[in-house]
């Protein structure tokens, strides 16, 4: 069974500071996704990472993937209030369609 662990589960951020969310997974995967979920809303795809060393950036968010360490990070630069949300990583086995999700990291950005 593919296990996905995120930490921290809760993250209180101060505006303007930098933070990192970690996602570890248990077995070989070829696809890793980061999603954002606002309260009462569905999952919004942020990044798809497909290969070792992949790095993607969008605005204040940057995601990277180390398949050897089975680790992905989501780095937030200079946090702002509108980044408050729950962030999920999700991983698929090689050639599988099922996504296994982490428990999510609830981010709150305070002034």
């Amino acid at each position: 069974e593919l296990k996905v662990e995120q930490n921290p589960l809760f993250l209180s951020m101060q505006e303007g500071k930098n933070y990192t969310i970690y996602c570890n997974y248990s077995t070989t995967s070829d696809r890793l996704y980061w999603y954002r979920q606002d309260p009462g809303k569905s999952l919004e795809s942020l990044f798809v990472l497909l290969s070792n060393g992949a790095v993607k950036q969008e605005g204040r968010l940057m995601a990277s993937l180390d398949t050897k360490a089975r680790l992905s990070t989501l780095h937030i630069t200079a946090a702002v209030h509108d980044l408050s949300a729950t962030y999920f990583c999700a991983v698929a086995y090689l050639n599988d369609y099922k996504l296994s999700f982490g428990a999510g990291t609830t981010v709150t950005v305070r002034a």
């Binding site: 996704y33 698929a92 369609y97 996504l99 296994s100 999700f101 428990a103």
Partner: protein, 113 residues
């Protein structure tokens, strides 16, 4: 619409009743997935359709749960004899093909009282 559409957005039902949850995937997407998200958790896989057939229903928790996709487009998740533990958000997703990026609907929040 351009995205995955789920109806109803909220459903409150009494314990023991039958419910149906509907999913309209993105046009042209052949793969369709149902996930269940309990409070404070990540979504968990329930069932996967490729076309009209359920290719993998290994995530369905028990035989009270069933899903269909008769024409390869709209899917319905059916829950019989609902229990309070079935309360969750049921998410539907679709993708252009298997192993390509899935796009999620807004979910149906099911509350069993």
């Amino acid at each position: 619409g351009a995205g995955v559409s789920q109806t109803p957005s909220n459903k409150v039902t009494e314990k023991g009743k039958y419910v149906e949850l509907r999913c309209d995937p993105i046009s042209g997407h052949t793969a369709l997935y149902w996930y269940r998200q309990s409070l404070g958790q990540g979504p968990e896989f329930l069932i996967y359709f490729q076309g009209t057939g359920a290719a993998d229903d290994s995530g369905l928790p028990n035989d009270r749960f069933f899903a269909v996709r008769p024409e390869g487009s709209v899917s319905t998740l059916k829950i019989q004899r609902t229990e309070r533990g079935d309360s969750a958000v049921y998410l539907c997703a679709s993708s252009r093909a298997t192993n390509t990026e899935a796009f999620f609907g807004q979910g149906t929040r099911l509350t069993v009282v």
